[in-house]
Point group: C2
Chain length 422, copies 2
């Protein structure tokens, strides 16, 4: 039965299905991976194979962009993995200790063939950059590629991404992409070629989630420092909380949606989630209008207010203040805030405390800011409020944007904070 090699076009029969495609390299001896015409990779347990017939021998010894003539995917869902770079797709240079982006989505599938037991996987590299260099223009590109994938038949989408700014991208996609399938961002804190890498478990978990009957944008990352489970976080309620630990991401002002046990392929939902409507076909709409002239200013004792004037005079449309406590800024910068608002900017307030809700009615300082017209961002993370402002100001008038900023559009505002999430 081993009369084939990587690159061959083969026809494979199992008890009840026939697959035709190109043989791909597989790191798992028990699994045969083939790439089908539509680009999806299928992993077939060798135990299930009844016969393999070589249709055409490979021309090149290594794998190449294959041409597949027939498809039959069995009953697994089509999951697209789009790679953007980051550690999850990196190799360590053992001479220098430095980490370089190296793997594409395709490489990841080859490295972790068990993914193919979970879905029919298509891997496509979008870009290969560290997420510290991700810009709003990349968010737009990712949104466009998500649209393309759904239109090409994807039923779930996984985006591998650097962890530095993964939560900013998750927030941006939450607002920009309207879909009824899951879009799951996943990263890793240790590069994929390290024995201690969290990439395999994170990736398997993300693909598991991508096959679930849920919709919206999510983040999947390790749940603890061991290898037991990962967490499913809402894309608008999560942040990177640690520079280096595997369990670096935490849901804020809510708890994660689910615990995922990748080894036993089990997902345990621990709170409500946006369910997909049963039987609906995958749908997607995107809106990539963004006003990028929105600044985030973190408040600190002694901050000089003219930094606000600077942004106003530069033509900025919005300023998010990351204030102290319940949403405060020193009185010394009130005049500058007034100048910004009088000039037509949207000025909003989130808290650098991170946890909890802004409440500007308690102290005189907050009341004065409210009277100036500063918009309180409820329990939104500053990062999410910033991205939401970019989205709103890209699509609405300042007056409408002000109103929508305090409304819950995508789960970014919870009306009542759970007691068990701090």
């Amino acid at each position: 039965m081993d009369n084939y090699q990587v690159g061959d076009l083969v026809s494979i029969k199992t008890e009840n299905t026939q697959y035709i495609g190109i043989v791909m390299p597989s790191l798992d001896e028990d699994i045969l991976v083939i790439k089908m015409k539509n680009g999806y990779n299928v992993g077939i347990s060798k135990r299930r194979i009844v016969s393999i017939e070589k249709i055409e021998g490979s021309k090149t010894p290594k794998y190449r962009k294959p041409e597949v003539i027939f498809e039959n995917k069995g009953n697994l869902k089509n999951i697209s993995i789009l790679s953007t770079g980051g550690t999850v797709a990196s190799r360590v240079d053992y001479n220098t200790g430095a980490v370089h982006p190296a793997f594409t989505a395709e490489d990841l599938i080859l490295a972790f063939p068990e993914l193919l037991e979970i879905g029919n996987i298509l891997g496509r590299p979008l870009m290969n950059i560290l997420s510290e260099n991700i810009l709003p223009l990349h968010w737009k590109r990712i949104a466009e590629e998500i649209k393309r994938e759904v239109e090409n038949g994807a039923e779930g989408i996984v985006i591998t991404h650097g962890t530095d700014t993964m939560h900013y991208t998750a927030a941006a996609l939450s607002f920009m992409v309207e879909t009824n399938i899951p879009v799951v961002l996943v990263g890793a804190q240790r590069s994929s070629d390290r024995p201690s890498s969290d990439a395999p478990l994170n990736l398997i978990s993300a693909v598991m989630v991508a096959t679930e009957p849920i919709k919206g944008v999510y983040v999947v990352m390790h749940g603890e420092s061991g290898d037991t489970f990962t967490y499913l976080h809402e894309g608008v309620k999560v942040r990177k909380y640690h520079t280096s630990r595997r369990d670096a991401f935490r849901s804020v002002n809510t708890i994660p949606i689910a615990k995922i046990y990748p080894t036993s392929r089990r997902i345990e939902y621990i709170r409500e989630v946006n369910n997909k409507v049963e039987g609906e076909d995958p749908k997607v709409e995107i809106n990539t209008n963004l006003e990028e002239r929105v600044a985030l200013i973190k408040i600190y004792p002694g901050i000089e207010g003219d930094i606000i004037d600077y942004y106003v005079d530069k033509g900025y449309k919005g300023i998010l203040l990351e204030g102290t406590g319940l949403g405060h800024a020193p009185e010394t910068i009130f005049n500058n805030i007034k100048y910004a608002i009088d000039s037509g900017l949207l000025v909003a307030m989130a808290s650098q405390c991170i946890n909890g809700r802004v409440n500007m009615n308690v102290y005189s300082n907050g009341r004065k800011l409210l009277r100036l017209g500063v918009i309180p961002c409820e329990d939104m993370l500053p990062e999410v409020a910033l991205v939401k402002m970019m989205y709103l100001l890209g699509n609405y008038s300042v007056e409408e944007a002000k109103k929508l900023l305090t409304e819950n559009l995508k789960g970014e505002i919870t009306l009542r904070t759970r007691f068990d999430c701090y």
Copy 2:
């Protein structure tokens, strides 16, 4: 025995001590509070009183700045409470729900006479402002007043302070004040006149700590949402993490120093602390030089680098970048960072992840920043790194400041992070 009234100068005898002072109002019927000549208030359990002799009747019916002619403090330590404002010294306006600063340190002592069982308490108002309005100039004033108190005989100091920026002030005092007694900042999340206020427990805990044989600057705040214990945090390793909960403060990249059980007057140390040298007299040195032209810039996707140029051209001396992940900033602003460094500014990097350590050797982005001359701030909180830069640039050349920034001066850098602090 009740032949005295508030304002009278009296001589009180207990079994083994004589006290002479002015009778102060007390909310606790069982305790007689008198203010002695040196300004300290002593609380004497009425059960212990053998005789009270009126030396001079009060001229005014309410209490006034008393003139006391004799002192005898028993064996309790002299603790000065300096009030600066904030909720811990506020009243709720039950009509509007707004909170106004109202109490001075003196009022707090009268409201919580049990403090007088712990130490001889002197209360002095320094200012009455919400901490969102605290500026570096206030840090200097507080440092000067600490010096004055120690020189006047204080053996421990408690500073009541708003919680919004208490951790910035704690960091500033850590660098500015060199003393061998404890300086304890304390606040409250609910105003003192509310039944649910955390002020009494926090304040009692802070005074307890102020009598301990330890030295340095600390923060004391509730340890959980109940009323069981408070935490003693290192002043350079703590931040406000929640907008409204009583347990809003958390130690970061370390654990708290002690758990304090105010009801049973017990302090349980859970890690090492800077001990005072046994038998030493209270000493204090202050250094209030600060370079206030230091900016904190939080990095986010799409940030424009010319904000850095703006600060350079304005004559700033330092910029602290609150970068992503292990200490990164987008490549798009590298030129601006180079401009700042070439112009002689100290540019440093802390992480917006808050937890964990900056490590700029892992990714190409960080390496390039290091090569440009950006100084990595180890595991310092951004807030602490900012204040440390103000302090260093106020006292040293840029070259010396660069070196000292990465050295541990006051516990702000831990060489090895405990695993149990995240």
